[in-house]
């Protein structure tokens, strides 16, 4: 099996950070084995205000100030900028910061689509009528990104979803956002006009794809129109193994 190397690498990176959910446990057990230090595990407050005791949907419809997001994101970009050699490097870094988010958001999306559809799918769960939650083909995956993922992050679906028309690049798909929220308060200097900080979002998408088992490279590109000066295209390039599997599944009639 051709597991994308980056997936594994990024997993360990994301585990080293504190913002982890399920992955953390795994790593901590590894730690105990390798370092043989007497770890008593994490301390928890006596009122048990931990992530395990609070409902995962608690913050589902919660809102925060857009300014707070803008400030944080701007700091993130500024910080990333201090440690890079150029625009591509900066975009790569932003992409890498989004990537672990994608992996986790995927779990959250599954969890939420499952829990919200439990009642309706109970009766038909034994029949093949209800679609599986995990996308097996590219198109359902793209719809998951275009719809639920975008709504979770930005409270609206993305603006367009397209397949490359070139016969040479059947593995390329494009998701368009006419006015990416992340770029709202970012002004890019003229000499860096190629830069698109939505590379962060591209990283999130890449994480979602990889997490689903669809090896992909995702990049963000400026495609301004008169009406939408900030229009951004997310270009998804799926790996060869994905395309091969896609053909097999198509022949097998899997949707």
């Amino acid at each position: 099996m051709t597991q994308p190397a980056r997936h594994a690498a990024m997993l360990s990176i994301s585990n080293s950070g504190p913002n982890t959910m399920a992955g953390e446990k795994q790593q901590s057990t590894q730690h105990m084995h390798t370092q043989s230090q007497p770890s008593q595990g994490l301390r928890v407050p006596s009122n048990r205000k931990t992530i395990y005791d609070r409902h995962l949907n608690r913050s589902r419809s919660a809102e925060l100030s857009r300014a707070s997001f803008a400030f944080l994101f701007a700091e993130m970009v500024t910080y990333a900028q201090r440690r890079v050699t150029g625009i591509q490097d900066l975009e790569r870094r932003l992409n890498e910061q989004g990537y672990p988010l994608g992996l986790r958001l995927l779990d959250l999306l599954y969890y939420r689509t499952m829990s919200s559809s439990t009642s309706s799918s109970l009766s038909s769960s034994s029949t093949s009528a209800s679609p599986p939650n995990r996308p097996l083909r590219i198109l359902p995956l793209l719809h998951l990104i275009h719809g639920p993922l975008w709504r979770l992050l930005f409270n609206r679906p993305a603006d367009a979803l397209e397949h490359s028309v070139s016969p040479e690049t059947p593995n390329e798909y494009m998701i368009t956002d006419n006015d990416p929220l992340v770029n709202t308060y970012i002004s890019v200097p003229k000499e860096m006009s190629m830069l698109n900080c939505a590379a962060f979002v591209a990283g999130i998408i890449e994480g979602v794809c990889d997490g689903c088992g669809f090896e992909a490279k995702v990049t963000a590109h400026n495609q301004p129109t008169e009406m939408w000066p900030g229009r951004t295209i997310f270009l998804l390039r799926f790996g060869e193994s994905v395309m091969e599997r896609e053909k097999v599944l198509e022949r097998a009639g899997v949707k």
Binding site: P18, N19, E63
Partner: protein, 192 residues
């Protein structure tokens, strides 16, 4: 009407009417990636991570105060107690939709604590189980910097640090804020 109740009303009203909103999880997760990235870049040197977070917060605070003043349209606070209420009931309300409790004043009215019942920045968070993070990392340390930067712009030099955090297994999340001095009119210091 006490200054706390008044500030509370201003804050709630502003949150409802003047604040553009985004999904809270987007903010939470974005902050999480920032901290995770720092932990990685500084190779688990949590003291340095705390420092960097504070610096980032300072940069944010210096700009955030303008947004705060423009939105709230409040005047100068008469004393540090009033400032504390403004920070908690208006500032935190506008930017994080919370209002940490102001308490534990010293008798000279120059030091207080903010107790966070809720902390949106720390949702979904569990610190690394490496035997150090829970003793060394202040996950939300960016907030200390924000206060320092913002207040410096309105002529107050303060010092802020966390003294407890539920992420460390403490029962409360508490930040201690001390007024160092009121800054007399002078040239603003260089950006950090």
């Amino acid at each position: 009407m006490s200054s706390a109740t008044k500030a509370s009303r201003i804050g709630e009203e502003l949150w409802k009417t003047r604040v553009d909103k985004v999904n809270a999880e987007l903010v939470t997760l974005t902050y999480g990636t920032i901290v995770a990235q720092l932990c990685q870049d500084y190779d688990g040197n949590y003291h340095e991570v705390n420092k960097q977070l504070e610096k980032m917060g300072y940069n944010i605070g210096m700009r955030l105060i303008e947004d705060f003043l423009a939105k709230s349209n409040v005047g100068r606070c008469a004393n540090f107690r009033e400032t504390a209420d403004m920070i908690s009931k208006v500032g935190f309300r506008i930017f994080l939709n919370i209002a940490p409790t102001v308490t534990n004043w010293t008798s000279d009215n120059n030091q207080f604590s903010l107790i966070f019942d809720e902390n949106p920045l720390a949702d979904f968070v569990e610190l690394p189980d490496d035997g150090r993070a829970q003793d060394e990392l202040w996950f939300s340390n960016i907030l200390c910097g924000v206060l320092r930067g913002a207040l410096e712009m309105v002529q107050m030099q303060i010092e802020a640090h966390f003294v407890s955090d539920v992420l460390r297994g403490d029962d409360t999340t508490e930040m201690r804020v001390s007024l160092v001095r009121y800054i007399e009119d002078e040239m603003p210091p260089d950006e950090e």
